[in-house]
């Protein structure tokens, strides 16, 4: 009966209208042929059914391109339904049949003139989708007409078509002037047209990052804001995303835009809400925090974010990823909304994990009790990942909110009692962190932890437990037994555990030396001899060496007080966070990666930044944030490779003033296997110690010394330089120590002959004052919205100064100046804020002197003396780079003792000597000497050989690098030779330039 009814029903349907599902039936032989016949049928209805069949085949992936001419033949019809179907087919296959596609052009052009706007729009829409280069030239005229069509439906379709055409042939679009027409459409009366024009322009602008296509100025912004109120929700998204790229001129404009965007927050479409949040988060940066409106805005942002959490889990997840960013940037927005992030038992696990993360970020003293109660509940749930994260969260709470630490620890102990394996392991990992944060407070729980030693099977937990045992070895009676038990399977452990075990046993040894010698021997030989892991081996050797050389020092190093761990963990790096905030609501905010990491091609690769804050008291922004922006304006700053950095570090460490003077040279090379753990141990173990068995080492490490030791043996049997000067063998005698680190007790006798030579030391003539180059323009007004900066550097009375002239060439008053340097080679940094006390009115110039110090962060620059500077005023932030004369870094105490000079000169390898020629310089040696001394280049000795004056000079840079120089002056010859020797030959070029500048001045 039922069957019969179905059949009847079907028959009835056949009679009236055929259903589409039969098109999906399997391919039969000759199907194409049959379709061909049907397509060429005279009956309109049959044609339509045939085209539908073709499209059905196309959908399931069958190749029906052979029917192209037949389908195109159906194009000329009055039936809109059929026309749409044919166009659908065309879009799909035009690319594979470019020649045939031309056949369709005529119909398209004709349709673009059709009285029915639906058909005009359909034609222009479809033409744009046919991605065949040949067709584009035919497209231009119809498109031009449609862009000016009287019907908004046609205009909005044409606007999108420009973007399509631009993707196929960008040049054509520019040549035909379509971009200008598109810009005009921003002022269109129909908001939908405006929205599409904005969308199309935004996309085109992304592929031309430097063009000023979307010329966002207050007038256009106003138009956009007006259209925002009227267009569809999807149009609102385009417009809001476009607004987010605008940088308001001042906080007042920023506020007025915020006010007009705020109503979008209550929109039902979450995409609109998020785009609005993005605009507000960005523009908020410009509002001063003490403004009333700032507080109002903060309050308004919370409810829409909370509302998002009532959506489907998919949207919730996306929302939570965004909230995670927002909470890191501005925790105050959601600080009262903790409850909404509590986990529901039927949330999917990925939502639960995100919620937990946000709960921790929002945890504070005010809500910690509530949070902890929740976390405790979560820790007994079923899902393993979630439980682990909950346990970890309890630990993070303890670290973040000190008042709750005790309660957190007792909660963790309760959880350990459950003996659930993974709970115990997680708990131990976090308890280790709690010990780090609150040393000597909760050690009473160690006994409980030790009970669970056997159940630990994850490396992280094992490593944490070993760390605890080592750290508190003196309080654990059987610490040696515990650690020994781990040692049995040493080679099966992961590296993490091995390293931790090595350190823990060394700690134990330093605390209880008598009972644990054997253990430490064992672990050291396991680490150094039987392991392939270089990290482990190196650490083993370092401990070995330390223990054998100076156990007291070893104690100081190994048992040194540890820095406290920071409160917040897993924070996103600030620069990345700023960029991600600019991408709220997009994929970047879900992945927590910048778009450049996952979008191919030019699109989206521009790094977006938050605008500078208006608060005058705040710093401009972190120098790191500037790096990328600065790099695009100045000659490319090469980021030093690992090797360069290392080289720099080594050089910087050569400071003779170093307080931890290098160990006696004798302890380095010669110390073989024999005295390992030998003499030094006495001080640890007292008298009763018996000599330790010496481990048999076959492979003596080649250079186990710390890097700051002199790399070459002090062997000065015949000092050539010394010989030349006076032939005194005594000079060499005291030079055993590393050359630049002069022992204060250095009192080697120097023969009388040399005294004469070196007596010049006091200086020749009067110091002429430090060389200060004349000011040059660093930042032209054109590049900086009217602010011109010219300046120079100088060293006056031992203080490095940056002397600048700020000129206002704009029409408005400039205020709120601030300055910041990027990291640079010598750690130059402003010693104080930029003192511009009065506003600079138009056409006014003021002189500013900024004292500098050299305690800033260091990064090697190219060239070495390059300095990247960010200057902020009330208008914007500007970047420029300039080069400073390295002579301003020469210290007043750069005069080297004569003997030291000789030794050093000899000690620096000849490869490090660089020779330069000073051309066209007229001076005699006395004048030169006096000029140079003004810039802290000190003449130590002078010698005359065959009419040539040889000046030996030294100077010392602020970072402790010494530069030694030999200047040869030949009377009557304008060309002179400068030889520079330095352990860091990179600086020589700059030093020579300073010579040149000083002497030619």
């Amino acid at each position: 009966m039922q069957e019969w009814a179905n059949q009847l029903c079907e028959n009835r349907q056949f009679g009236s209208k055929m259903t589409d599902s039969k098109y999906f039936t399997t391919t039969k032989k000759g199907e194409i042929f049959e379709l061909k016949a049907e397509l060429n049928s005279d009956k309109k209805e049959k044609k339509k059914e045939a085209v539908k069949k073709v499209i059905a085949s196309m959908t399931v992936g069958k190749d029906v391109s052979a029917l192209f001419p037949d389908v195109v033949n159906c194009m000329q019809t009055d039936n809109l339904e059929l026309k749409k179907l044919v166009y659908l087919y065309l879009m799909n296959y035009a690319k594979s049949q470019p020649d045939m596609a031309i056949m369709a052009v005529n119909t398209f052009v004709k349709d673009c003139e059709d009285p029915n706007p639906l058909i005009r729009a359909l034609a222009v829409r479809t033409m744009g989708c046919i991605r065949v280069d040949k067709i584009t030239e035919y497209l231009c005229e119809p498109l031009r007409k449609c862009l000016k069509d009287e019907d908004p439906y046609v205009r909005k379709t044409a606007a999108v078509c420009v973007a399509k055409l631009h993707d196929i042939n960008a040049q054509l679009v520019e040549d035909q002037g379509f971009l200008d027409t598109l810009k005009d459409l921003i002022s269109d009366s129909n908001p939908m047209v405006v929205a599409n024009a904005v969308a199309a322009l935004s996309e085109i602008a992304e592929s031309h990052p430097n063009s000023n296509l979307l010329d966002l100025n207050p007038q256009t912004i106003n138009k956009l804001l007006t259209a925002l109120n009227e267009c569809t929700e999807w149009g609102q998204i385009f417009i809001l995303d476009c607004l987010a790229n605008y940088t308001p001129r001042d906080d007042r404009e920023s506020q007025s835009i915020c006010e007009r965007v705020t109503p979008r927050l209550s929109h039902a479409n979450s995409a609109v809400v998020l785009s609005a949040v993005k605009v507000l988060m960005k523009f908020m940066e410009m509002l001063p925090k003490d403004l009333d409106y700032y507080g109002t805005l903060l309050k308004k942002l919370a409810p829409p974010l909370v509302t998002l959490l009532s959506a489907e889990p998919e949207l919730q997840y996306v929302a939570l990823r965004n909230i995670n960013l927002i909470v890191q940037r501005r925790p105050e927005i959601l600080k009262h909304e903790m409850k909404v992030f509590f986990v529901k038992y039927n949330d999917p696990i990925y939502v639960k994990l995100e919620k937990l993360d946000i709960m921790i970020r929002l945890a504070s003293q005010a809500n910690i009790a509530q949070v902890l109660a929740e976390l405790k509940e979560y820790a007994t749930e079923v899902d393993v990942d979630f439980v682990r994260k909950a346990v970890r969260a309890i630990g993070r709470c303890a670290i973040k909110v000190e008042q709750s630490a005790e309660r957190c620890v007792s909660t963790l102990l309760d959880l350990i009692q459950t003996k659930v394996n993974y709970v115990v392991q997680e708990a131990i990992v976090v308890i280790k962190d709690i010990f780090r944060k609150y040393p000597n407070k909760y050690e009473s729980v160690i006994a409980t932890l030790c009970e669970n030693l056997d159940s630990l099977d994850e490396p992280e937990a094992r490593a944490a437990m070993i760390w605890i045992v080592g750290e508190y070895a003196e309080r654990i009676d059987n610490a040696d037994e515990l650690l020994e038990s781990f040692l049995e399977g040493f080679h099966d452990e992961s590296t993490q555990v091995q390293l931790q075990l090595l350190t823990a046993i060394v700690k134990l040894f330093l605390k209880k030396p008598t009972e644990t010698q054997e253990l430490v021997q064992q672990v050291l030989s396991l680490a150094t001899q039987d392991s392939d892991n270089p990290d482990l081996r190196d650490r083993g050797y370092i401990y070995w060496r330390l223990l054998s050389t100076d156990p007291v020092a070893a104690k100081e190093v190994v048992l040194a007080e540890k820095p406290l761990i920071s409160e917040e963990t897993d924070l996103i790096e600030p620069t990345l966070l700023e960029e991600l905030i600019c991408h709220i609501g997009t994929l970047a905010s879900v992945y927590h990666k910048p778009p450049s990491a996952f979008v191919e091609g030019s699109r989206g690769v521009q790094h977006k930044r938050l605008p500078g804050s208006a608060g005058s008291g705040e710093s401009v922004e972190s120098p790191d944030a500037n790096t990328a922006a600065v790099a695009s304006e100045v000659p490319p700053a090469v980021i030093p490779s690992q090797g360069d950095l290392l080289g720099d570090l080594l050089n910087l460490d050569l400071t003779p003033t170093s307080t931890t003077g290098p160990p006696p040279a004798s302890s380095g090379m010669q110390m073989g296997a024999m005295d390992l753990l030998g003499g030094g141990l006495d001080s640890l173990m007292g008298d009763e110690s018996e000599p330790l068995p010496v481990p048999q080492r076959t492979d003596t490490p080649q250079s186990p010394q710390p890097p700051h030791q002199s790399p070459s043996p002090p062997d000065y049997c015949s000092t050539e330089l010394g010989g030349d000067l006076g032939g005194s063998p005594a000079i060499a005698s005291g030079l055993g120590a590393p050359p630049v680190a002069v022992p204060p007790s250095f009192t080697a006798p120097v023969s009388g002959g040399l005294d004469d030579l070196f007596d010049l030391g006091g200086g020749v003539g009067l110091p002429a004052g430090s060389y200060v180059p004349s000011k040059t323009v660093w930042l032209p007004a054109m590049k900086a919205k009217g602010l011109e900066i010219s300046g120079t550097f100088g060293r006056r009375a031992g203080v490095i100064q940056m002397e600048m002239t700020l000129t206002n060439k704009a029409m408005s008053v400039m205020t709120d100046f601030a300055i910041q340097f990027n990291r640079n080679s010598f750690g130059l940094a402003p010693a104080g804020p930029l003192q511009v006390l009065t506003p600079v009115s138009p056409n006014q110039s003021i002189e500013v002197v900024l004292p500098l110090n050299t305690v800033g962060p260091v990064m090697k620059m190219e060239p070495l003396n390059n300095l990247q500077v960010a200057v902020k005023n009330n208008i914007d932030v500007f970047y420029f780079s300039c080069q400073y004369p390295i002579s301003m870094l020469f210290l007043e105490d750069g005069k080297m003792e004569r003997q030291v000079f000789l030794a050093t000169w000899k000690d620096i390898p000849n490869d490090n000597e660089l020779q330069f020629q000073l051309k066209d310089c007229h001076f005699n040696s006395d004048v030169a000497s006096s000029k140079l001394q003004g810039s802290n280049i000190f003449t130590i000795a002078k010698r005359t050989v065959e009419g040539q004056d040889m000046l030996y000079q030294s100077m010392k840079l602020t970072n402790g690098i010494w530069v030694l120089a030999e200047l040869r002056v030949q009377a009557g010859n304008p060309n002179h030779m400068v030889s520079l020797k330095c352990r860091a030959p990179e600086v020589s070029q700059c030093v020579f330039l300073s010579y040149e500048a000083v002497l030619k001045n």
């Binding site: 179907l85 659908l88 009532s310 659930v420 609501g585 997009t586 994929l587």
Partner: protein, 436 residues
Amino acid sequence: MISQVFILSSKGDRLIYKDFRGDAGSDVVNVFYEKVTALTGDQPPVVMRHKQAHYVHVRQGGLYLVAITTADSSPFAVIEFLNRFAALVKDYCGGLSEKSVQMNFALIYELLDEMVDYGYVQSTSSDVLKNFIQTEAVSPQPFSLFDLGNVGLFGADTQQSKVAPSSAATRPIQGGKSEIFVDVVERMAVVIGTNGVLMKADVQGEVKVKCFLPSCSEIRIGLNEDLSVGTSQFRGYGTAVRVDECSFHPAVRLEEFDSHRILRLSPSQGEQSIMQYQLADHLPSALPFRLFPAIEKDSSGRLLMYLKLRCDLPPKSAAVNVSATIRVPKGCVSLSQELSSPDQNAELRSQSRAVLWKILRFPGGTQLSALFKLEVPALSSASMMEVGPVGLSFELPKVTATGLHIRFLRLSPVQPGPAQRWVRYVTHSDSYTIRI
């Protein structure tokens, strides 16, 4: 920007495939299906990435609706779009199923072409779209109200889909009887602490209109006159109906909302959510359920759970499809039960470590009890900690937790003939947790 949109059957067959920008490649469908079937439960399925293509999908009616984007576009926009797309297909084709999509593929292609141009969403409003659509819809079967037997109240089982179902009517919006449905659907999320104290109670509500009145130009919906919005704005004393926040569909006109709590709108054909609201904590009425648990270890090492569950709804109302999930320690091997009435049942689900106690109908003002005896080898005091929480799921027909009611529903112009107006209320449990 959306690069491609496609609909796949649950078996991975392509039903609809539309490439808007031609920049995402062509093997995307297979890649997507492989990825989505390989997902494990704890991976967020929201955005999946393969090379340069990012897949966003929603699952409705057993179908995958997928959008691909290659740029850094907004996942919110894409998900919203897919949900609207699903709703429109439902409205136009009378349901979202493999069959209805297959039968109406030409219509759906046409819809897609009007909704999205070159990846930019143009419009998702059925009112706008109907001006452009030429193809007529084909219904899978004649519409019948009697086909609803297999689905839960208002069309779906609450625990299977998180989207609260709202409408019994499934058929194309073109033609048919003149009817209008106004549904008030609320979802409750409650946490009750171990000591019986209410820790959290949230209600999320929604007013939905499903309209099949071609000639209706405006409807006016009157809500409770004493409804107040926001925390600061209390009207008078006593138990006024209150919501914390509410948001409205852009088509709703609110001229009379502030003075008389009247919503006015020109309804589109099909379904719309016209108002969404939330209320946190301060609920006006008592919670629907209270649980009184007693848990102990008996002499023979079994775990005894004695549970009393009381329904505090007014006596005229009743809860249906109530089920309580009681978490039990791991390693439970067997369950014996004593239930207070025959229309309940309980079973042990060892996989999810839970006892599931089901009550088909639970009238207001009554109380049920159950005694569960569980055999747990090696029952320790620590495993007692693993008992609980209890999760309740239920439906409360004809009840709103906030007390929101529709005072009247007026249509203008006055409908000729017997226009049928339906107003329905339901409250679902979203998450109702009682800790032990």
